[in-house]
Each structure stands twice: as structure tokens, then as C-alpha cells.
Amino acid sequence: MAPPATDAATTKQEQQHAAGGEGVEVGGDLRLVAECGTVVRLSRSAARMSTTLFDMIEAGCAEGGIPIKGADVGTLRLVAAYCEKHAPHYDPVASAARLRDPFPPFPIEFTPASYAVKPVTQLDPDPHGLEAWDRKFISDLPDNSALFNLIIVANLMAIEDLVDLGCTAVADKMRGKTPDEIRVALDIENDYTPEQEAEVRRENAWAFED
């Protein structure tokens, strides 16, 4: 497979992909174009995580620049970083059949103390370090907007796992908080009139009981 005549830096990458790919994948990285025109590159194996891109690759129309409408370059790079990290361990079947559990299975109150000790060897907790990486990925986001933009772009590109991760992060910011606290945490403006608000409360009195 002769690498296309682009800059030398991609050659090694393409040879890697050619060697590791399914045999049919030719060509180099995908080129995603942000709203401002900047190009963000994404390897083909990472692009599989986006159903949209995957379909385009299959249909043979993934050459050239792929504009991602409304995506700023920062968010696009974050999305690309996520996909590249998860791509080696991505299983589309497992991802499609993922189960999300809204409630923790066993109510154990763990009170942190000054010496928190944990036996070491675990057989398969987060074997590729992906969960830890995801946690850091989310906590490193500078602000809420970054998180929301991430979800929007991931949704646009149909990257289900990343959409899930983002939604879970937002839900985590809301869980256990009063409506006022949520509004502060997520910059939501209360545009209800007092009458409207009272009406919502009345209709759903059971939810506002305690």
C-alpha cells in the first residue's frame, strides 16, 4: 500500500494503520474541518467510533475535508483525543448493547478517613485504564460550556459512548441538588413567572415534598 503523497509525518501512521487495519482501509487520516476552517485529523480506526464517519468511510466518501458544522476546533480536538484513546478497545457490539444503571447497586456508605486502605491486586478493574482516563478527561474540562459543546459535537458525530460519558457528567452535576443549586451549577436562568412556577409545583407536588 503506497502512502499518498502527503507530508512525511503521516507515512508512519498510515503504515501502522495499513498493517493493523482490516485490509481494505486505504489512505490516511480523516480530515475533520471545524467551523473556523481548522483541520483536525482523526485516524481511521478512531473514526470508527463515530457512526456517521464510519458510514462515510464505508460509502467511500470520507476523502477530503469533512466539515463538522458548528464544531469549534477545541471541542473537535477533544473529541478526537477521546476517540483515539478508546479506539484500540472499541467494540461496536458491546457499545450498542451498553447498559446504563441509574441507581447504584448496593447502598454502601463509604466515609473517607485519614487512612484509607485498600487491598491491592484486582483482577480486572478497568484493565486499559479507560475509566480513569475518562474521569480525568471530564474533570479537566475547563467549564460547563466545554462539556456541553463536547456533547453536542459527539451527538452530531454519533459517538454514542462519548455522548453517554457527557450525559453522565451532566447528571452527576445535578443529582441530589435542589433546583436552585442546579441553576447555579449549570447557569440556567429561571424564566418562569411566579404563577407558572407555582403551577409546576402544584402539578408535581409529590416531587417537591421533602
Binding site: D7, A9, T10, D29, R31, V33, C36, G37, V39, V40, L42, A46, G65, D72, V73, G74, T75, R77, A80, A81, C83, E84, K85, A97, L99, R100, P102, F103, P105, F106, I108, A113, Y115, A116, V117, P119, V120, T121, P125, D140, N144, S145, A146, F148, N149, L150, C167, V170, A171, R175, K177, P179, I182, L186, D187, I188, V200, N204, A207, F208
Partner: protein, 519 residues
């Protein structure tokens, strides 16, 4: 543009900007907008480079300035609906009051309804009539089937629950009336093609309903205090091609179940010894063919003994077993031709013919802490890496130097982690422990769960000496003395979901305490 202007804040990160690459798309003149960042790199921007660049999220990531504008409203309804469906029922309903945008979201977000938290069944009915659906998860106390069967049936028919993924008829009271198990409404099974997780309790599953079912998406199934026939249970398992976790605890209607499943990874078994002479309890579990099975876990009612036989004929990937308990009378675990039987005098009678080399995690509950018994068990599982021991009394002196002198030479102890509950530092426990300290060459940690007041500095210093930690066989081993004990006999299974935890014996509560460790 805002996004690029924000980039300088993160200039210290490694990612170079676009203009370094010669193949710019479009005519957009990027270079004037992008600030100079770190040294130019021949690798292309974005994440197309080699692994070392991928670890850090790029600079200026999504960075709009923090200006207090309500940006969450930019998310589409479907996404906000997903977020809402991840919240507990009341929290989710309260989102309606956040702002106008949110007013109608809850009613069309996938419904996550926990009827256990709500005060009356009227509230559940009201929610279901107001909600448009689809349903995601519905939980309610199983005893409603007994007292309000018509209402439960109406709930299950509600369009608000269409496409339900998880149903949870949870047990609230223990030891319900076995002879009067109400029928599980047939309306439950209108979800059979979309259910992923199902918990059914305190009910009767009739043959004509059960045997007609297919569960193409069911991954986790829990049946507790359920009356069902042998054919029906086999039929349900066979009709669940992607079933991973199965909890069968206190099933009545027949004696023995044969498990054949190509997908099952974890099974929970329990047989609450019943005293009803007219009722047959499921007490024998034969794992005939389970190529993916990793865990066999005993689901134990608190403090009560169980009577059950578990035979494993073919489970070549079995890794985790437990918690086997000394007081399970007339019980037996058979792995191939190896037999482990709780036994009054000897704690466990072990006949070891075919060591199971895949088992890595074992939990044991014995009355007297006897090293001989533990060694017998270790020989059944030569590749054991984690051992959890709950014990109560001393029993044996556990002197081993002479007795097991020859054994030590040929026994290759692969244990990495040992957890010993109820540790008081008394002679027999010390002797027991030194066997591992001095002979387990691959040991990484030993944890002693003690009483809160007993872990004083003096106690720790004493143990340091008594346990001969200076002479330990594994130099990197750490020894932890915790002040909280596991109060669940190492078994934290409450629900089918818990069966997918890789080490269900690890107790989060018992993770507190002082620590003696050596470099």
C-alpha cells in the same frame, strides 16, 4: 473567534496548532488567528499523531468564556432527556421547574421510576398517566403484587412504560408467604423483547406464560422467592441468548436446575432452607455447560444457613467462588471430581481429585480458624490469588513448622492478597498468619479486619514482632490493620447488577484504618 482566542490560556500544553502542517484545508487564513504555542512538531495537529500526543486533551478545549449564559439549553431535547433519565425519580421530576425549556422534558424523557421511594401507589399511578414514555426503568415493591394486583397490572400496561429496559420487582420484606405467591401479571412480559435487566420476586411464573417467552436482550435476570417449574426455568434461560448475570435464590417448585448457557458470566445461587413440607425448594444447581462462567456466588440470607448442592461439570473459565460457609448443612460444592463439603467437626471436608487451576478468588466462612482446612482448600485451587477468610473462634493452635515442614517445600503459594476478618492478634491467629508471612513468596498484601478499639500503637508494634514481618518471604508485601470489619460476611450481592462486580468480596466499608507497611 472565541474558541481560538481562548487558546492562549492553555499555551503550556503540548499540542501545536494547525498552521504547522502543510495540508491546510479551505482557504481560511488560520495562522493570523492562532497564537504561537509550543515548539513546532512534525506530527499533524489534532489527535492523528502518535500515542504520546493523545494523552492530553488539546489546549483551548471547547473554551467559551465563563459568561453565565444558559448554554445547557443548546443541547437538543433528546440529550437533555437522556440526562434526566439518569436522575433519581424525584430529582428528574424537579427538573421541570428549572426553566421553561425544561418544563416538558421530563414527560418525554425516558422514564426512570422508582416506586420504592414514593410515598403512595397513587403517586406512581399519577406519574404513569402523565408521562408520555418511553420507559427506561421501573422499580416497585414486589409485595404490591399480593395486595394490589389490578393496580400493578394497570401500571404495566401503561404506555409510559413502553420499551422498558429494566424492571425491578424488589423484595422488601423477608420470608414472604411461600404458599401464596401471586402470579406475575402477563402484562409484565409485553416488555420481553426490550428488557435488559429483570428482577422478579415473590411471585409465581406460570408455564403457559413463561414458556412462550423470548428475551433477546436480557443480560441480567434475578429470581428470588419465585415459584416456577423446571421446564419453565430452563426455557427462560434458553430463551436468553445474551444473559450474563443470573441470580436464583429461594426458588420453589422443583429440586434441581441444569444451567447451560454460552453467555453466562456470573451466577448467584441461594437456597433458603424452607420448612414447608409441601413445597419443593430448588437446592441443586448443576452447571452443565457454561464456557464463559467466571463467578459462582452464594446469595445468603442474613444469618440463616443454606442447604444447597452446586456441581460444576464444565466451566473452564471459573475464577471466583464464595462465600462458602461452615454452617451450610447438607451442602456440597463439586468441581469436576473435587468435593468441598461443610462439615460439623472439620469445618470443611475436602476431597481433592482435580485441582481447579483457573480459580483465583475464594471467600470462606469458617467457625474455627484452622490452617489445615485452609491448606486443603488452597490445594484445590493452586492458582489462587485472593483469599477472604471470615472466622469466629480459635479452635486450633495452628502450629505448622513441623507439621507442614515437607509441604512447604513443594507447595507453591501464589496468593497475592489475604483478608482475615475478626482478627484479635491471639496466638492461633498469629500462628496462622505467620504461615503466609513466611511462605507466600508472591504476597502483596494481607489485611486484618480488627475491632475498632484494639488497633493501638502498642498492638501494632506487638503484631509487627509476633508476625515476624521482618522475615517475610515477599519483600514487597504490605500488612494492613483496619478498624472496620466487613459486616456482610463478604457477600455484597443484593441485586443482579452486583453479579457483574469482578471481586464482590471486597468490602468498601472495611477500608479504613491504620496501616503497617514496609518499604
Amino acid at each position: 473567534m472565541e474558541a481560538l482566542a481562548a487558546a492562549p490560556r492553555r499555551a503550556k500544553r503540548r499540542k501545536p496548532e494547525a498552521p504547522k502542517s502543510p495540508e491546510q484545508e479551505d482557504g481560511a487564513n488560520i495562522s493570523s488567528l492562532v497564537p504561537a504555542t509550543s515548539a513546532p512538531d512534525s506530527c499533524p495537529p489534532g489527535a492523528g499523531g502518535d500515542e504520546s500526543h493523545i494523552q492530553d486533551p488539546p489546549p483551548g478545549a471547547g473554551g467559551e468564556e465563563e459568561d453565565g449564559i444558559d448554554r445547557i439549553s443548546l443541547l437538543p431535547d433528546a440529550i437533555l432527556g437522556e440526562v434526566i433519565s439518569l436522575l433519581p425519580t424525584k430529582d428528574a421530576a424537579r427538573t421541570q421547574i428549572l426553566a421553561n425549556r425544561w418544563r416538558h422534558l421530563w414527560r418525554s424523557a425516558p422514564l426512570n421510576l422508582d416506586g420504592r421511594d414514593l410515598r403512595t401507589i397513587d403517586v406512581v399511578s399519577r406519574i404513569l398517566s402523565a408521562h408520555r414514555g418511553p420507559g427506561r426503568r421501573f422499580r416497585f415493591p414486589a409485595q404490591h403484587l399480593q395486595y394490589y394486583p389490578a393496580i400493578v397490572d394497570a401500571w404495566l400496561r401503561s404506555p409510559a412504560l413502553d420499551n422498558l429496559q429494566e424492571i425491578d420487582c424488589c423484595i422488601d420484606i423477608y420470608a414472604p408467604d411461600v404458599l401464596q405467591a401471586p402470579p406475575q401479571p402477563a402484562s409484565t412480559f409485553r416488555f420481553s423483547s426490550c428488557l435488559c435487566v429483570a428482577t422478579l420476586s415473590q411471585c409465581h411464573l406460570s408455564d403457559d406464560v413463561a414458556q412462550a417467552l423470548q428475551f433477546p436482550k436480557l443480560k441480567k435476570l434475578s429470581l428470588q422467592w419465585v415459584s416456577i417449574s423446571e421446564d419453565s426455568l430452563h426455557s427462560i434461560i434458553a430463551a436468553s441468548p445474551v444473559l450474563e448475570c443470573l441470580l436464583l435464590s429461594t426458588i420453589f417448585g422443583f429440586r434441581c436446575v441444569r444451567i447451560n448457557s454460552a453467555s453466562l458470566t456470573s451466577i448467584g445461587v441461594g437456597a433458603n432452607a424452607g420448612y414447608e413440607p409441601t413445597v419443593t425448594f430448588l437446592e441443586e444447581f448443576i452447571i452443565e455447560d457454561a464456557p464463559c462462567l467466571k463467578r459462582i456466588l452464594y446469595h445468603r440470607p442474613p444469618q440463616l444457613p443454606m442447604r444447597l448442592q452446586v456441581s460444576v461439570i464444565s466451566a473452564p473459565n471459573l475464577e471466583t467462588l464464595g462465600c462458602l460457609k461452615y454452617s451450610d448443612y447438607s451442602s456440597r460444592l463439586t468441581l469436576g471430581s473435587t468435593i468441598i463439603e461443610p462439615c460439623y467437626i472439620k469445618e470443611f471436608r475436602v476431597i481433592n481429585s482435580t485441582p481447579a487451576c483457573t480459580v483465583k478468588i475464594l471467600a470462606i466462612n469458617i467457625f474455627n480458624l484452622r490452617l489445615d482446612v485452609i491448606i486443603d482448600l488452597m490445594r484445590c485451587f493452586p492458582c489462587l490469588e485472593k483469599l477472604y477468610i471470615q472466622s469466629y473462634e480459635e479452635g486450633d493452635k495452628n502450629l505448622w513448622h513441623r507439621k507442614h515442614h515437607n509441604l512447604i517445600k513443594c507447595l507453591d503459594i501464589r496468593l497475592k492478597t489475604v483478608v482475615l476478618n475478626n482478627y484479635r492478634g491471639i496466638k492461633s491467629q498469629v500462628n496462622f498468619t505467620t504461615f503466609f508471612v513466611l511462605n507466600a513468596k508472591m504476597l502483596e498484601s494481607m489485611t486484618f479486619e480488627c475491632q475498632r478499639d484494639s488497633v493501638t500503637d502498642r498492638f501494632l508494634a506487638e503484631q509487627h514482632q509476633l508476625l515476624q514481618l521482618e522475615k517475610r518471604a515477599s519483600r514487597c508485601a504490605r500488612f494492613y490493620f483496619t478498624t472496620e470489619s466487613c459486616r456482610h460476611e463478604f457477600l455484597h450481592i443484593n441485586h443482579a447488577h452486583d453479579l457483574s462486580i469482578s471481586d464482590p468480596f471486597e468490602c468498601v466499608e472495611a477500608g479504613v484504618g491504620a496501616c503497617l507497611s514496609f518499604e
